[in-house]
Structure formats: C-alpha cells, structure tokens
C-alpha cells in the first residue's frame, strides 16, 4: 500500500521544528524512527499534511548530568538494549527495550515513540515508570516537564499537546542498594506483542536491609500501564520475604483490569500478571543485593 501524500521537512533546530509544528495547526506529525508512524500512515489512521522528521535533533542516546540519567527521546531500542549505562542498576530499561519487536524494528524504533504512542503494551513504559522518569517537552511557546506517572491517559492518549515534541527522559539515580527488573509474557521468543508484563524496582536502606521504596508497574492489564500502589506500600518498611512478595503480587493482580483480546483472556492475564509481578520482585530484590 503506497503512502498517502504529504510534505516532508527535517529541521536543524528544536526551535525550527516547534515553529513548523505550531504553524501547521495540528495537521503535522512528528517522525522519529517511523516504525509506528509509517505503518499508521499506510493504514490511513493518521493523515498528516506535513511530516516533521526530528532526526537532526538527536543527541547522545544517554548521558549523565549531576547524577541524573538523561535519555534522548530518539535513543533507539537497540541503543538502549546495549548501552553500558543500562547494565547495572537500570538494567530493567534495557530489558524493556530489547523486548520490543525485531532487530530491524529495534534499530529504528525510539523510546520517545514508544512512550508517545502510549499503547498499554509498550515495553519501555513499565520500567521507566518504576524509575520515576520525568519527560522534557518543548513547543514553540514553552518548555515543560511532566511526570511519566501522569502522562498516559488511555490507549494512544497522553498529555502531550499538538505542537509539542518529547525531547528527553530524566531519571534520578536512587540512593541505596537498588535493583529493578522487567518481564513480559509472550507466546514465542520474539516479535510478539505483550500479553502481560511487569516491572519492579526495590530500594533497600542497606544491603539485605529494609525496603525503603518499591515500585510495581504492570503492562497490558489496563488502558494505561498500571501502577500497583497498594502492593508497593505493602512492601515498604519491611524486610523482603517470600510471603511478603507473594502478598504484594496478589494485591497487584487484584487491581488489574485486563480485557479479552486475541492475545489472551482477561482471566488468564490476571493470573499471569500475578506470577510476573512475583518474579519481577524476586529478581529486583536479588539485584538490589537482598537475600544473599
């Protein structure tokens, strides 16, 4: 199927890109890797008059600034999957990135695209939510920061406004022994859309100590990636044990609102997300240096 007609431009600066988007009055689309936008244009679900490629605005995929990790919105899944800064504490972000698509897709698909597309099954969203990521957005009028936690509003719906570009994603490095994990359930090893997923992070007060902070986020069980706050609270202030993890996983699964679709039934998803949360917590705790 050929692509419908559109104008194309590739501005040199963020300011110029923002101006083009503002002048287009909502009839322009931002193009990063194109693995989502080009498919939607082929299917006719998005019909922009103008495609604004932001390729020339790309920065270094990941940098560290004052202890903060800053991920460029155009970092590809392949870049995140192999980046040395995502091998230790932040390994769950690389695990999410490597769970996306195929090698060909991961070489083009960007983390910014994965977030802005806002599918409930997006694989980088749960780990980034667990790390408390903030988004830096730019438009012709303003620059603003948003908590990723507030960003998702529904399938394909976010707080990004027409004319805004997601520039980068920021994460504070947690103090204390910390571990995270991302797991997803699929029917075969690759090129599969998530049936359910779970990400977890655990911050301890000292090695093998008390949980100071925990985050649990589940994918494909609600219209948006879903945080399990009651389950997080249940873990905090205590030493991690098999039974505390079992309890937290059960509480997390109880807030899931999955649907039946061709990838899995709602009941199956609710059962399996409990298993995935449990495994993600066990792995995150071990990576935080717990249970040794």
């Amino acid at each position: 199927m050929p692509l419908p007609r559109f104008e194309f431009c590739e501005p040199d600066s963020i300011a110029q890109a923002c101006r083009l988007l503002a002048e287009s009055d909502g009839s322009a689309a931002v193009l990063a890797g194109g693995t989502d936008l080009v498919v939607k244009m082929k299917r006719g679900t998005i019909k922009p008059d103008l495609v604004v490629s932001i390729a020339r605005l790309r920065g270094s995929p990941i940098r560290t600034d004052n202890g903060k990790l800053i991920i460029d919105s155009q970092a590809t899944m392949a870049e995140l999957g192999s980046h040395p800064d995502l091998r230790g504490t932040f390994a769950s972000i690389a695990e999410g990135a490597l769970a996306v698509g195929s090698p060909q897709i991961r070489n083009r698909a960007t983390v910014g695209g994965n977030l802005v597309s806002a599918r409930p099954c997006a694989d980088t969203a749960p780990p980034l939510l667990c790390w408390g990521a903030r988004l830096n957005l730019r438009s012709a009028e303003r620059e603003r920061a948003l908590e990723l936690n507030d960003f998702f509003q529904g399938p394909g719906e976010t707080l990004i406004r027409p004319g805004e570009i997601l520039i980068s994603i920021e994460i504070d490095r947690p103090a204390g022994p910390t571990g995270g994990a991302f797991l997803k359930l699929i029917r075969r090893a690759t090129l599969e859309i998530t049936i359910v997923s779970a990400a977890a992070t655990i911050v301890l007060d000292e090695p093998d100590g008390i949980v100071r902070n925990a985050r649990i986020v589940m994918g494909s069980v609600a219209p948006v990636p879903l945080r399990a706050r009651a389950a997080e609270d249940a873990l905090c202030g205590e030493r991690v044990s098999g039974s505390s993890i079992d309890r937290a996983a059960a509480v997390a699964a109880s807030v899931a609102q999955p649907i039946d679709d061709l990838r899995g039934g709602a009941g199956y998803r609710r059962e399996m997300v409990e298993v995935l949360v449990r495994r993600a917590l066990v792995l995150a705790h071990a990576r935080a240096g717990g249970g040794r």
Partner: protein, 161 residues
C-alpha cells in the same frame, strides 16, 4: 514535487529524485533498479525488505527515502564482488538455506550485519539476529547452519597468513 536526495548505495554515491512519501524500499526497487529487497508485509513484520542502513538491518518499507539522505545503504546486490558470491551467499547455497528465495535477500543482510559485529556467534545469537526475518519454506534450520558455516569461512579468511 520530487526532492533530490544523496545517499551511498552499495559503495557508490547516488543522487535520486524522490517523492516525500516514497519509502526507501520503493526508491531502491523502482528508481535504482535494485529489486533484491522484497516487499512482503509492508509493515515491518516479515523482514523481506531488510537492507543495512549505516551497517544496521532495517525494514526499508518503514524508512522514508528522505530519511536515508546522507546515509550508507547496503542491499543484497552489494554482497557479491567481481562476480563471486559473498561467503554468506555461498554458504546459503551449499547448506540448502534457499528454497523459494523470497526471504533470502533479507536473511542475507541480517546475517551480514551479525557477522560484521560478531565473527563467532553461537546458534542462539544467530537465531536472534534473524528473528525479524520470516521464512515459510526452510524451517530455519538450514539457514542457521548456513550462517554458522559462513562464520567459519569468514574467520578462516580473516586469519593472517
């Protein structure tokens, strides 16, 4: 209105006028006559259109030609040298890794990118490298064997005499 883009294709600098909505795959096949890369699903699921962009495999059906401006493209036509099949191509022939042939150009490009970065992959790494290339004929086993055998040949060639 067509716009002029410059790119390097199989080692040669090329200038070509493209429509803004042309994909890289359409430009390679229709404007440059390089029909090795195939159009399968058109949505990035099948891998038949795989080419290397700056050395990395991409689905050329999802890349706009305009996005390839200034970049280096390698297609299956760029593998053979002086009429001699590339060792990866030769290995596919010898191992029986080609049946209907529709997936073959994409498979070869994924294999090329793998062996450029990892001269001694294990079978799992080979399978991961071709995870985005569907083959409905071979059952993949002969393709994995071909890539393993090509890796050995290439390592032998690289060894200093």
């Amino acid at each position: 209105v067509k716009e002029l883009i410059r790119l390097r294709v199989n080692g040669a600098d090329v200038e070509v006028a493209v429509r803004p909505n042309a994909t890289l795959l359409e430009t390679l096949r229709d404007d440059l006559g390089l029909t090795g890369a195939k159009k399968g699903c058109g949505e990035g699921d099948c891998g038949a259109c795989t080419v290397l962009l700056d050395g990395l495999p991409v689905s050329s059906c999802l890349v706009l030609a305009m996005q390839a401006h200034g970049h280096d493209i390698l297609t299956v036509e760029g593998l053979a040298e002086n009429g001699q099949l590339h060792p990866i191509q030769q290995a596919f022939v010898e191992a029986g890794g080609v049946q209907c042939g529709f997936c073959t150009p994409g498979m070869l490009m994924s294999a090329k990118s793998l062996l450029d970065s990892n001269p001694a992959p294990d079978d799992m790494q080979i399978r991961e490298a071709i995870a985005g290339n569907l083959c409905r004929c071979t059952g993949y086993q002969k393709i994995v064997e071909a890539i393993r055998s090509a890796a050995e040949t290439l390592r032998r060639h690289r060894r200093p005499a």
